[in-house]
Amino acid sequence: MKFPMLAAGFVLTAGVAAAQTPVLTVLTYDSFTSEWGPGPAVETAFEEVCGCDLRFVAAGDGAALLARLQLEGARSEADVVVGLDTNLTAAAAATGLFAPHGAAVEVDLPVAWDDPLFLPFDWGWFAFVHDRKMAEVPGSFEELAASDARIVIQDPRSSTPGLGLLMWVKAAYGDRAPEIWGALADNIVTVTPGWSEAYGLFLEGEADMVLSYTTSPAYHLIAEEDDSKAAAPFREGHYLQVEVAGKLAASDQPELADRFLAFLLEEPVQSVLPTTNWMYPARLPAGGLPEGFETLVRPDVSLLLSADEALSLRPEALREWQDALAR
């Protein structure tokens, strides 16, 4: 009963490939490798050009990735890690396990990018998603707090979107964050351990809005031909989630790892990300974004704390959040 939030998977030991074929091991989060994630397409495309065997090792969510790396240390079998976000990269860098990517970063992000260790491969804006039938859609945290709108959010202690929301309020309001949380408290129906539970409750009608991404309505539109969902633009701007990849210093396939990192930003990968990860590709594919993405809200202001700030502000922000909501 305590269990399924971290369900398990296991390997089909698919027979060892011919001995001379080099193996590139990529550690990533579970939904990246799933049948509905970008993993299968990425694997096929890369194996066509690399003359290697690409193997994914899946480890829960983004936070689990980092935990696993820390457990394994330099003895990790992984050559590349895919799927950390900017709330985790400072801690990841501090492990000293990562090597500089050494590439010139040419990406289409709403913010500048100069991290020497981690390369972004996709990104998105956090946003509150609602049904279009919702009468008065709040345009800011303050309006949301003043309204009767009921929201469901994720716990920043167990979920990356939850942590993103914490940073969003902190980045937008700084010292006023406790006040905002205090005002939001009566709007929050409940706090869930992860994104799936929150989104499920929202679809069940338990809340008017759910913390998700500006790109979430695109799924309903493209995959289900359902245009009833929308993301609410907030005046104070939207916090970014940037998903990154990095190369491990102890990799025994450093060149392959470099090639893979570069490949992540190439067309075959970038073109599948919008409809598998439901995020914006870090480098716009030649064919542009899939039809339907043009209907999405595009915030004017993008917020993102630097990795170091995100790490150092976290304990205080968490305490403020807990104090405000525990009342």
Binding site: A8, F56, A67, S158
Partner: protein, 504 residues
Amino acid sequence: MARRAGALIVAAALAALTLGPLALVMARAGGGALGAADWAALRFTILQAALSSLVSVLLAVPVARALARRSFPGRGLMIALLGAPFLLPVIVAVLGIIAVFGRAGLFNRGFEALGLAPLSIYGLHGVVLAHVFFNMPFAVRLILQGWLAIPSERFRLAAALGFGPSDVARHLERPMLREVLPGVVLVVFVICLSSFAVALTLGGGPRATTVELAIYQALRFEFDLGRAALLAALQFTICGAAVLATGAVALPSAFGAGLDRAAVPFAPRGWRRVADALVLTAAAAFLLLPMAMVAARGLPGLFQLPPEVWAAAGRSLSVALPSAFLSVSGALVLALASPRFGLVATLPLAASSLVLGTGLFLAVHPFLNPTLVALPVTMLVNAVLSLPFAYRILAPEARALEADYGRLAQALGLGGLARLRWLTLPRLRRPLGFALGVSAALAMGDLGVIALFAGEGGATLPLLVQRLMGAYRLEQAAGAALLLVLTSFALFWIFDRGGRHAAS
């Protein structure tokens, strides 16, 4: 004696698998400290677990009594269905409960139609409600077993002596409850100790922080192994204290053996008959409504399942069956040996699955690629985690068996496999079937410890449900979850019914 040696081996393996990983995590960390928030989490954890277990058991007693003394069409089906809520994957059950009791659920829509203010499910009461939904039916089954274990000769005697319902309660039922209830409260309490998703989702916010959530935070976001290990040790300590307290409270009822004569049900008439009917109807509605909602949500998705689910279901089955046999064999060895193994057989209930997974990873990683042993590790871990349930189901009857027939078996030199075949298995068929059913279904639901061991491809059914949810495919996820529930329940039903059938 071979039996004792076997029990010692099982107990040692169990202790090693529950406490060993904790020790490894602790050793890796070298120390740790707890903060004020951790102690607050501990207080809330104990509060909600205590309330959940007491309410579950208080409600379970009248239901079990009504089931024990009434016969009606559908009674067998109802007893079987009592196994179901316990086996639902947490997120599925929570969504089912919310569809009934939530803001937009059946009840509140009814209130709305009547012009009443809606009731919120979120808060401590919601946590308790969900835990009661999960555990009350299981408690009913355990208590019902106690009722059925009172030999029919004693009821016959009671009837002959002209006992009224209150006399039966005093002389037969209360001594039985005195023996059975503390153990049932204990199990439910310890199950709820490690609640995480239910407590947080229905608790409505960070007030409802449990120790398990604090462990998750420490391991995943702060990589504070020491704090995680300390918190896990706290959970074990509370569990140990609860086991010892239970041992002090429970009294053996010593009804002695009967001759398996057909039951003489003690079924008082009058208002008690009406009360029993009401109790059974209310319990059935409370349990069936959320399950019906789960089924209703899952049905549309059931017909558009991706082909991967069938392979995933097969993999889950191939883990669940060996795991169940392993778990029940271990539990039987302990249950037959001595009540002193109760503590070690309960510990896995209090194990933090995250710390367990992390410790096992630390144990395996230096020697082997963890993904290579994912399958056997899943099997073993599921067996360990479901053993306490199997033990609780088997222990009372195993003890009665020893008390009633141990001497005769010894006098006849009935030992070893012959004793297993001619005495233990036939006499314990009913609890063995129930225990196998519960263990297999729990292992189907995959106790989720080994996320760290996961590799490429080859998902189990619960993981597939989670992947579908994570990919926005909530309808398909509901369908796959329904498939999971149906498979788990089918497994449970086959074993449980097999046991009950063979015993009658």
